[in-house]
Symmetry: none
Subunit: 292 residues, 2 copies
DNA sequence: CAAATTTTGTAACTGTAATTACAATATCTG
DNA sequence: CAGATATTGTAATTACAGTTACAAAATTTG
């Protein structure tokens, strides 16, 4: 079978090589082994490096790639990258063993694990400067803050709102209904801060809101997923979080974590002021209760 | 510092970007964000692909790469590959490395760590039988479900509500205002399920609601913290979660995780029914949009 | 063992990716 | 708001990676 090896449904390149290794010539086999030996990194290098490592000539590599059913080296590399990306997204199933016993019958554990993964990836990818910048904006109590979210994320906006209002004055919730926007936009200028939550299945209304706010000169802060909402083009600060879980729905856990961390940081920063505010509010609540 | 950013000892490119993101221009920052958002794969593509994904021109990418201290794109990619290889070779060590060093000056990391700790402790302490039991109640679409929460936790109740309503019919939100309770209580019997969220600083009203519901014969499900709300005395099922973090406020992350896991489990269990429901709802939304 | 056949490397070639120069645009500043 | 400065994209250029043709070497086969 010196012709091109048929490309089966969806084998990984490594598996494909293993199955068809006898159809390869001696030097080709050598290349294949080198590739498999620390798969798939050598395949991501240039042809020349690969060839050198395998101690063969470049054309031999290309012939191998051809036999594996690819039309060219770039296509082969593209596929390797896709595989790698996929593999890195689900490390638990392939990489790890000890938990697998639990995982199968313990859905909660499985879910929790993937949430934990999201958290650490979020942590890693989140630019601290952005986090700090947003914190700085929120610390400035002179700046009015407006919060908005999408169909599902507005819950998180609400959570943020309820806590922020305990920590500082001048916070408002933008209703989901776009008819009410004008109430916010009318007084908006460069002092204002608009916080928008927008994840997958990005809502066009939110983009519109961001645009209008930005035109007023307001600072726009965006919480979004790793694929970035279109609002990211407008926003002054972007906080990307991980939302992918083994579910039909997205996870808001990482978003919530960042929001909570912001509130915590704000509170800790000058607790005395916050404390006074909380106490004052409690007193007021007490009073209004007695009057009822 | 608009010149090339100094290349410190051995920062990963991601970290380097995170530290120096404010020295980048707007579009460069956009590139950086796209790269970080699913690091490092876009960086392994050709410049053109990267540029397209980031919605900028190729030279912008190259300028970014230059600022990061690389002499050219190939060098940058080489480094990315090395990082990736290194990272994949050490599966477990990596997880522990950032904690100690960063914690001091990185509040976000500190917070995230304590949240992660909460998650695993929650996972450990959560009785699977309770989880399953609640799941079973929710699977039974004939049972009306009512959701209520406290001053801060009602946001989570709301999150649960919005997802449940997509998964099954017969779900209602109990307003925070106790005047509205009668609307729910009037028709309540042993088929009904009342889900209550109540954590530290337990609200007496919620205890009252639980009592009344229970008297109607309804099943009461309680989400609470590790110290258990007084509602736990009445509730048929109790889901305890961890809420303690280095903050003046409590964390709702673990609660949210369990809620999400429930929704995911429900959806996965019989997806075909859920899918039909989701599609039907989309169709209706479409229709009503057209009519406006 | 020689002819046929396959395999492999060399070297020339080609196409495309990375780079650069420069003009257009946007942003800042007095 | 104009001039200055910084930023960004377009288009031309360069360099090099990937490809191909072909000849040399190795292997197979009669």
């Amino acid at each position: 079978m010196p012709q091109a090896i048929k490309n089966r449904p969806r084998l990984s390149i490594a598996e494909d090589i293993n199955r068809n290794i006898d159809y390869l010539t001696r030097t080709e086999r050598q290349c294949a082994r080198v590739l498999l030996s620390n798969y798939p990194f050598i395949g991501l290098e240039k042809v020349a490096s690969f060839a050198k490592r395998a101690e063969v000539s470049a054309p031999t590599i290309l012939r191998l790639v051809g036999k594996l059913g690819f039309s060219g080296y770039p296509e082969f590399q593209q596929r390797l990258r896709e595989e790698l990306e996929e593999r890195l997204q689900t490390p638990l199933t392939k990489h790890e063993e000890p938990q697998s016993a639990l995982e199968d019958d313990d859905f909660l554990a499985k879910y929790s694990n993937s949430v934990e993964r999201n958290l650490s990836r979020t942590l890693k990818a989140l630019p601290r400067a952005e986090f700090e910048a947003v914190l700085k904006l929120l610390s400035d109590v002179k700046r009015p803050v407006h919060l908005a979210g999408g169909k599902l994320t507005s819950t998180i906006a609400d959570y943020f709102y309820r806590h922020l209002i305990m920590v500082r004055p001048n916070v408002r919730r933008i209703e989901n209904d776009s008819y009410a926007w004008s109430e916010h936009l009318i007084d908006m200028d460069r002092r204002d801060v608009v916080i928008i939550f927008d994840v997958r299945r990005y809502q066009p209304e939110l983009l519109e809101l961001a645009r209008l706010s930005s035109q007023c000169g307001a600072r726009v802060v965006l919480f979004t997923d790793q694929w970035l909402s279109p609002v990211s083009g407008i926003a002054n600060h972007v906080i990307p979080v991980r939302i992918d879980v083994p579910s039909s729905w997205d996870s808001a856990v990482s978003t919530l974590m960042v929001v909570e961390a912001m509130i915590a940081a704000l509170s800790n920063r000058d607790w005395s002021r916050v404390e006074a505010r909380v106490k004052a509010r409690e007193k007021l609540a007490e009073k209004s209760r007695l009057e009822n």
